[in-house]
Amino acid sequence: MASELRIDPKILEEFLQMNKNIFEAPKLVAAPDEISMEMTPSDVVYSEGKMRLLHFNSSVPKQVRTPVLIAYAVINRYHILDIHPQKSWIKNLLEQGLDVYLIDWGTPTEMDRYLGFDDYVNGYMDNCVDFVLNETAVDKLSVQGYCTGGTLSTVYASLHPEKVKNLVLTAPVIDGSRDSTVVANLAKHIDVDKMVDTIGNVPPEFMYYMFSILKPFEQGLEKYVQFFKNIHNKDYVENFIRVEKWLSDTPPIPGELYREWVKNVYQDNLLIKNQMYVANRHIDLKNISMPLITQVAVGDHLVSPECSMPIHYAVSTDDKTMRVYATGHVGMIASSFSQKKVLPELGQWLKERSEK
């Protein structure tokens, strides 16, 4: 008896088209290492160890005197804030007439394994703040922290409130006990002392593992299927490669910083309990008396909103704003949505509270 294999011609057509796209991809798309990131021009105005302070050039006249200092996260690089001219967080703030500085933490080597919260907050960050205050001739500046940079900014604002005019926390890591992400679950069960004592800095590969368990099928499979499906869509492909390049480039995390991080935020949860100490100085969240805006994303699978939101209730300031956006961790800072919704609201909030 003859058997007949029946395949829907449309499925066959899609399959052949996908094969054609995969074959054509190298001709249509530049490799991540070949693309130009078209980043906003900046000058390195101060540096210390591996850390650099960048000052972004603007063609728009400043509308306010108070500068904004961005403390980027210690995971991945700051490029996501300047991923594409049309989706650039930095460019948008400049175009709104703000003066923007950013701390690039650089690439720590084994020599930096003993750097901890004290070095990052009371060393690097405080020196950058002093530099900016001196250069711009103002008494206070606005500090914005993204992700783990939000934790550093929170600690900084608690220890040095006299230098912070406004505090912007974008998806900050604050309350580890409420963090419902898979990363938080694993962080709570790691013997962090053994890890740091044995390997020193936390290697990028370990962070890549952590990323790989976040939506493994959506991010590890479907994303690439969609990439090849949309290979002729120039904007889609360009954006994809830029974000992939950013995702695949994370520096090591200094060992002591990681140890303090995991213990104080995820395992013992000392920060939100007002029991954290940095270099024997108490981190009292009630010291945060300056205006505060907390930005969270409901679809954030890296830092859940429940992890960030408690800061809103822990500070002493009466001028506090909470913004909850219907997007994800990266969508909040590098997307068309952030350009249309998140940044205009932030710019307005900052300008209303800055020195004219």
Partner: protein, 192 residues
């Protein structure tokens, strides 16, 4: 006596015999070896005992690492099977024409994503993962000790010694930064 206790006992005996003979051979050969005291061979002879102990402990640790790794893959495989079973139940409800190929893929991804996220969120997975990482770090520690012994043999700085320098550098940098701040502001450490 269980098979684990048997293997522990056998391993312990092997360790004892190994250390006994390396010790004894080292003592018996110490005089002729002292002729080579300036080169690496004498030191290698002394360190051979420690290296041998480290290698035995690596084997012990490998058992724990393999157990944890097996459990890790078992968790992944079980979750995959459960998700696949769930998807198989849904298959008859999904039309097989070309228009629905995307929606069936979507259902597959959603089911697998849910099952695996539930696994990664579970205490069982996190606990085994923590122990797996710990056992890998124990192995790394033994390798580090062996490498250090080899480096000592040829008078090269070990990781521990380099770390001590890094620690010293870090503390000196902090002190210098503090002194620079005092010099710039013109006040002493006591604030006067």
């Amino acid at each position: 006596m269980t098979s684990t206790e048997d293997s522990q006992k056998a391993l312990g005996y092997y360790k004892h015999v190994s250390l006994f003979w390396t010790d004894l051979l080292s003592l018996m050969s110490s005089r002729p070896h002292s002729l080579t005291a300036t080169g690496p061979l004498r030191k290698l002879g002394v360190n051979a005992k420690k290296i041998s102990a480290e290698m035995i402990e690596i084997n012990e640790q490998l058992v724990e690492f393999n157990n944890r790794l097996t459990e890790y893959y078992k968790q992944l495989a079980n979750t995959w099977n459960e998700a696949q079973q769930q998807f198989s139940k849904k298959v008859p409800e999904i039309p097989t024409d070309a228009e629905h190929i995307d929606s069936s893929k979507r259902i597959w991804i959603d089911i697998f994503e849910n099952y695996f996220t539930r696994l990664f969120d579970s205490t069982e997975f996190a606990e085994n993962f923590g122990k797996l990482v710990s056992s890998e770090l124990e192995l790394a520690n033994h390798w580090k000790n062996v490498t250090s012994l080899m480096l000592e043999t040829i008078n090269m700085p070990t990781k521990k010694e380099i770390d001590e320098i890094y620690k010293e550098l870090h503390s000196m940098r902090k002190r210098i930064a503090k002194l620079e701040k005092i010099a710039t502001s013109g006040v002493t450490e006591n604030g006067k």
